[in-house]
Symmetry: C2
Subunit: 469 residues, 2 copies
């Protein structure tokens, strides 16, 4: 039996090539539970692998044949082999976070084979502190990044004594809980109520094949002076063609530190996150002697308010718009950068609220699916990048979570660099920490892990500037 | 720049699908050299990765475009990323041979992506005895199994004090030594001097598309009663369609034990190897209640003598023919089985020597490329399998080898199961040991690792029968 592929998913499959694997990833770190033996990782692996009934999402693969008239459709994999998808791996010595990030970068840089369901999970042992890592990758045609993180978290509990949790790909992930595994369709671009956009994405054989009308609206929306959005982002090393090599860096910082900075300066935690990125990107580019004279521009997805949300998604699902934020990387003073970012963010959100429904839809589309839409924009003559880097901040659970008693220490997102956008920073809050996941093309963004050092320096600099150090 | 793909290589690329990855593999185990620190595996990995000049064989990938009129050609990978091909991995606890074989089975069951050069190497640490493992996979379109083993061995030395050895994929694998990296072309089917066969393989879009004339000759040769070849192999569980899941098992036994059995019974070491396989297959199938009444037939590639060789390969390269050996699995007595195998092997070799040049060519082709030719035979109405299992015995180095001081402990081949031939046993001698590499479809051949236990039992049984225990 075959089922049709929704237009957005199809667009992600079409946009994918060797240089741009289109899967999102997640890295989770667990503490061994009390009394866990040396076999604990193997037990976790076996529990993840031995699934009674797989969720249908994890059983389907793209399929094209004469019978489907050459169209790609979803088909259940009749040779499904769970051992191919759920794997038990180990880190080389000395098993530091560095070796873990190396492995994640390598795994994230390999495309998922179309001949099988589009996901993999690796239960990883060998961390020197005996924690267990879980790296998961799922094709963007199945879930978007936010849904993927939610999916991983759906099997967790805030009760350390709860047992009976299963794998996120289990059709019944927790005994008693209702299934939360949903296809990407209900929460994303496919639900944007513009029939033209929907069918256009579906019909096109290349991601760049959006009809001119949609792209004109998008570019007009982005160029609109009244919307206070700069489209004149400078050229940087991030805005070039990329290769398929990936590097991943991740670290977290106590939210309390970010909150203190925000409180003392009258800014939000999200502003502080952006200021950290700004300072880190500035320091990183200076080291490479590649800092542009004018400010870098970040594309920052933001949640829309109820009314806007209704326009962008009449079904009442969450809708996301995009704000172009001036990162003020041309300013030396951390306090000044934070202040300018705060203003730019406020202006952008106001602009969003004054936009026409069509503009909101366009922005929403850009916020959801830059991988599909950015190439289209470039083809339309937007030779300078509309923005330099994507920085997302996705809220996560506020309390400590457990998986069958194993405490989740941290959870870090791996995202999708694309041509012209070689670096992606995705943050997610969990418990009392803000986790930064930095994914980039290893060849276009050299020594990407340096960004972590700069992020750390920047928190300290902001604390000092805010007088809370 | 693109270069044409020779007909045999093309046939292997065409024959490949998700259930039949067409790469050969090798597993090598090294002792850490004297004074090696805890970082030794990493050093080996870095030495294997940091190659000044890659051998062209390892830089080319299959490529098809409008410019090549839709034909597959070789093209140098202009985004070659050595980190994708040479990897540093580790075993989960407790790091037994079992975990190593599991990993090799998993790696061997994954197809090489066509978008990159068709090879991978994994330097693996975490064995409980601190040895280092090297698993290598190379597409059959680049090298055949024998060449792959030679290639891996080409960088080794019998001098434990020699240093400066590089990776097998280095254009200059050893300082001072001449490059031995050769494409598969000079040693295989492509050199069989039958223009029709050559071009037929090249022109066909499917492996099964051999012209009827060639296949008729093949089947006639195989069916020829005077050649004492049984084509009436019984149906077994090995002779079904396979999936892409792989299991690998490997172990070695002292050649001295096999030689003693041969000496006492007037048989060859190769006969003893076949008798071990026979007894093990019999025990294995009995456990599954799946032993056929009549004897299993093995296809055993053998070297041709000088005159035959000249017919099959006028360039003077090694030529390989195929002998169908009755494994006598229907007999209970190990001594009787060995005796019958010895006779069947002798008859088969004699038959080979009485064959016409065309028959030799046909057999030679079958010996070289069963993956390509077997489906063709089946399509020609040979509904019963012409043989049940492929057992190869490839001689290797007779003395201890070293790589920069690290002693090579063992070297084990991983081969290619195909539809209808779910199990492959390849043996290779090294130093004073005979190594058995058993590769099978994990789903078609359950508990394949049991064969190792049975092989071990069978050596003991043969020793007892020969009176040398």
């Amino acid at each position: 039996m075959v089922t049709p592929i929704d237009p957005t998913s199809l667009a992600f499959l079409m946009a994918e090539n060797r240089s741009m694997p289109m899967h999102v990833g997640g890295l989770q770190l667990f503490e061994n539970p009390e009394g866990a033996g040396p076999d604990y990782t193997r037990q976790m692996y076996e529990c993840m692998r031995d699934v009674d009934e797989m969720s249908p999402l994890f059983l389907k693969r793209p399929y094209r044949s004469l019978r489907t008239a050459g169209q790609l459709v979803w088909k259940q994999d009749d040779q499904f082999d769970v051992d191919h998808h759920v794997r038990h791996s180990a880190l080389p010595q000395p098993g530091r976070i560095r070796e873990l990030l190396d492995l994640c970068g390598r795994l994230h840089g390999t495309r998922l084979a179309r001949e099988r369901p589009l996901w993999e999970a690796h239960v990883i042992e060998g961390l020197h502190d005996d924690r267990v890592a879980l790296y998961t990758k799922v094709h963007h045609a199945l879930v978007d990044g936010v849904s993927a993180m939610r999916l991983l978290q759906s099997v967790l509990s805030d009760d350390p004594d709860e047992r009976g949790m299963r794998a996120p790909w289990d059709a019944h992930p927790r005994s008693g809980a209702e299934p939360r595994v949903r296809d990407r369709s209900p929460v994303d671009l496919a639900e944007v109520p513009v029939q033209a956009l929907r069918s256009a994405l579906g019909l096109t054989a290349e991601a760049a094949g959006l009809p001119a009308a949609v792209v004109r609206t998008l570019t007009k929306g982005l160029r609109n002076e009244t919307s206070a959005l700069s489209l004149y982002a400078p050229r940087t090393i991030f805005n070039q063609r990329i290769t398929g090599s990936r590097r991943f860096a991740a670290q977290d910082w106590p939210i309390a530190r970010l909150r203190a900075i925000g409180k003392a300066t009258g800014t939000t935690i999200n502003d502080v996150v952006l200021a950290m990125c700004s300072g880190a990107l500035r320091a990183y580019l200076r080291e490479l002697d590649a800092l542009p004279d004018s400010s870098l521009v970040a594309m920052v997805p933001v949640g829309l308010n109820a009314k806007q949300s209704h326009i962008a998604n009449p079904d009442g699902g969450n809708a996301v718009g995009a704000v172009m934020v001036q990162l003020a990387t041309n300013h030396e003073d951390p306090a000044r950068r934070l202040d300018l970012i705060h203003g730019s963010m406020r202006d952008g959100k106001e602009a969003l609220s004054s936009m026409t429904p069509m503009q909101i839809v366009a922005m929403s589309a850009l916020g959801q699916a830059p991988a599909i839409l950015t190439p289209a924009l470039r083809l339309q003559g937007l030779l300078r990048p509309p923005y330099n880097v994507i920085i997302s901040n996705v809220p996560g659970p506020r309390s400590t979570r457990y998986w069958n008693g194993a405490r989740l220490d941290g959870t870090y997102p791996l995202s999708i660099p694309i041509d012209g956008m070689a670096l992606n920073i995705t943050c997610t809050s969990y418990d009392d920490k803000m986790a930064f996941g930095v994914t980039g093309c290893r060849r276009t963004v050299p020594h990407l892990q340096r960004l972590l050092v700069h992020l750390d320096d920047e928190v300290a600099a902001l604390e000092k500037a805010a007088g809370v150090a």
